[in-house]
């Protein structure tokens, strides 16, 4: 233990004196998490994870527009109404096509009156004769931002369609209500012989309720999804795995100088020396995560982003960070032993980390990848770490859910260290 501490102390001293290297190690993940999260704010708008802005130009100015606004006024849709005195249809189209709004809707002049007339016509005597022929419909222009995802576009379209159908249904029931009351009066029946009173409310009463239920999967209450809960651990992981490259550099520097021969002549195993490096660089990784976490918690709210939170299960988060750090150090030590030059190690290391991050879901979520790539993704250590983080921080799962990912990270560390040690012995 004394020798591991000695080796760790020496590494710490060397790191402390390499201020430029240290700055890069901490600056890189910090910058990445800020930039990527800010960039993804826009992605969230395009995927509907943020409030969608609907631009409404009500050229009618009647009951239809008011009713439509009431029905669309949910927590996910923000309606921006343009004044018909100053704006035209083409302005709406241009604003939406330019990405300023996700959807634009134009209510043509006289729409409220038209829809009334069309509904009245439906209940006119003898209208069945025209069955099969096209009936009058009210046409409205709707525009979508070409940049939004197809899923969001379909969802918005369905929501608009439902709101308009709801208005139409209300109008139909109102007229039907009147007609039935007239028939009852005409036949001389008592007013309560048919349940026509409040017919509109009765028919509009929803009979189904969709309740979101996570079941009994060990999930606790988790905060609503936001990119910060995913980006902070994802880019911290990315930075942590990059720590493996300077670690490989330290080993290669020793191997290329007389130090390696001197170390080999000491009465201690290389495993001890490796563990000394691991202790120091795990410390670096923990500090990296802490820094990125603090940025997420305290800086993000100041730049208009949601705050990062680990309050759900800090113990599990620490365990993931620790095992990811160990995996990163194992990777670095193996890289340092497998490569012959620092150029080789840095090229191979950067490529491996970026590829592993891409595969692991740091850049694009795994579920958005092609099927084959989703299967390959499970080979990425960054995927194991990120999946565990998402399970804990986004899904609110308990520690028992992430044991397999933690096990993979631990196994990766043990395997890479043993391989590196094997290489030390093979090189003799």
């Amino acid at each position: 233990m004394f020798k591991i501490i000695t080796a760790a102390g020496k590494e710490l001293l060397l790191l402390k004196r390499d201020r430029a290297g240290l700055l890069v190690l901490f600056l890189m993940p910090a910058l990445l998490v800020i930039v990527i999260t800010l960039v993804q704010e826009n992605v969230m708008e395009l995927t509907g994870q943020k409030n969608t802005q609907l631009l409404l130009l009500d050229l009618d100015g009647g009951a239809l527009g008011r009713s439509l606004r009431e029905r669309l006024m949910t927590e996910h849709i923000e309606i921006v109404v343009w004044d018909k005195q100053f704006k035209k249809s083409i302005d709406v189209q241009t604003a939406v096509a330019g990405g300023e709004y996700q959807v634009g809707l134009i209510i043509p002049p006289g729409s409220s009156e038209s829809i009334r007339e069309i509904t009245e016509q439906l209940f006119q005597k003898g209208n069945q004769q025209g069955k099969g022929q096209s009936r009058a419909r009210l046409s409205m222009d709707v525009f979508y931002d070409p940049g939004i995802m197809p899923g969001l576009r379909s969802g918005l379209n369905a929501q608009l369609q439902m709101a308009l159908e709801g208005i139409a249904m209300g109008d139909k029931i109102e007229i039907l209500d009147k007609k039935l009351n007239n028939i009852i009066a005409h036949l001389g029946l008592p007013q309560d012989s048919l349940p026509v009173a409040g017919l509109s409310e009765l028919i509009g009463q929803p009979l189904f309720v969709l309740e979101e239920n996570n079941g009994d999967l060990g999930a606790t209450e988790s905060p609503p999804y936001n990119p910060v809960q995913q980006n902070v651990p994802a880019w911290a992981l990315f930075g942590m795995f990059f720590t493996g490259i300077p670690l490989a550099g330290v080993i290669l520097q020793e191997r290329k100088s007389g130090i390696w021969i001197r170390l080999a002549s000491l009465p201690i195993s290389h495993l001890i020396l490796f563990l000394g490096k691991v202790v120091t660089f795990v410390g670096v990784c923990l500090c990296q995560f802490l820094l990125v976490g603090l940025i997420g918690t305290f800086l993000f709210p100041y730049i208009g982003l949601p705050a990062f939170s680990v309050s759900l299960n800090p113990g599990a988060v620490f365990l993931i960070v620790l095992l990811s750090s160990l995996a990163s150090c194992g990777f670095g030590i193996f890289l340092g032993m497998a490569c012959s030059t620092y150029e080789q190690a840095s090229t191979l290391g950067y490529t491996a980390v970026v590829a592993s991050a891409a595969l692991g879901g740091v850049m694009v979520p795994v579920y958005a990848m092609p099927q084959v790539m989703q299967q390959v993704a499970v080979l990425s250590p960054l995927n194991w770490g990120l999946t565990a983080f998402i399970d804990i921080l986004v899904r609110g799962s308990s520690l028992s859910v992430i044991w397999d990912d933690l096990g993979r990270l631990a196994l990766f560390f043990i395997l890479t260290i043993l391989l590196a040690w094997k290489l030390v012995r093979a090189r003799r």
């Binding site: 004394f2 020798k3 000695t6 080796a7 102390g9 020496k10 001293l13 060397l14 004196r17 390499d18 100088s257 007389g258 130090i259 021969i261 001197r262 080999a264 002549s265 000491l266 009465p267 201690i268 003799r428």
Partner: protein
């Protein structure tokens, strides 16, 4: 070239190093770096291993210190072999590699403390050894300066002192005076002679003939991975009729360039 009898006597109690029929071939190399290499160095001896570049000196030292394993043959240090007593051998063996084996960003004191601790020293004993090594290298005044600020001679002296931090019984020095000024070389020679007189066995590789003649009680000439001649400097000169070791060396190894 003169052939040499490389037969080694059975190991005696007073042998510090015995290498028997070592063969060592690097991957992708057509010729072996050590080829039936045998050597016996007695306790307290100052043995010089002389050879041209690529003759196999560094490979031999690497095998003697357990850094490389030979393809065949055996090595014993103070009567012990690496297979059974590796840690005991490493505790009594000192190695000064040809390349500077120091951390540039650490000070001389920090380098010595680090290697001293890895040898198991601590507390006052460690501090005493560090002070003695700094004094040995005449670097006490510069002990807190980082190594990268040192001159070549200072680095060489510290490199040597670091190999002595654990008071080894046998010391392998691989060309320890390459590329340094006369003053530093002179100091290193003086300190090594003192060390040898106090009982440390020294195996010293060099291609400086005058250095070998000045320091060594016995020398071995290595060529193409094999000892081709060994004996005391005076004895070899008398036996060959050569005026100095350089002539003897050229006589034995030839004048052909040894580009490997």
């Amino acid at each position: 070239m003169k052939a040499c009898n490389t037969l080694v006597q059975p190991q005696k109690q007073d042998d510090a190093l015995v290498a028997t029929s070592l063969v060592m071939r690097y991957r992708n190399s057509a010729v072996p770096a050590l080829n039936d290499f045998s050597l016996q160095v007695g306790k307290g001896e100052f043995f010089g291993l002389l050879g041209a570049n690529g003759a196999g000196k560094t490979t031999a030292v690497s095998v003697f210190s357990g850094f490389l394993s030979p393809d065949s043959g055996s090595v014993s240090v103070m009567g012990m072999d690496f297979g059974r007593s590796v840690n005991t051998i490493r505790q009594i063996l000192g190695l000064v590699p040809q390349d500077i084996a120091l951390y540039d960003q650490l000070t001389a004191q920090e380098n010595l403390l680090f290697f001293g601790r890895l040898y198991g020293f601590s507390g006052k004993k460690l501090q005493d050894r560090v002070d003695q090594c700094l004094d040995f290298a005449r670097l006490t005044e510069q002990a807190t300066r980082r190594v990268y600020t040192y001159s070549g001679g200072m680095k060489r002296r510290l490199n040597l002192a670091t190999g002595l931090i654990h008071l080894p019984q046998i010391l392998f020095l691989d060309e320890p005076t390459v590329g340094i000024d006369t003053q530093s070389r002179h100091l290193i020679h003086k300190q090594l002679k003192d060390l040898n007189q106090k009982g440390t066995t020294i195996l010293y590789t060099t291609h400086y003939m005058e250095e070998a003649q000045e320091l060594c009680s016995r020398i071995g000439i290595i060529d193409a991975g094999k000892i081709i001649e060994q004996g005391t400097p005076d004895g070899l000169l008398a036996q060959s009729g050569c005026r100095n070791l350089e002539n003897l060396f050229l006589h034995l190894t030839g004048k052909q360039l040894r580009d490997t």
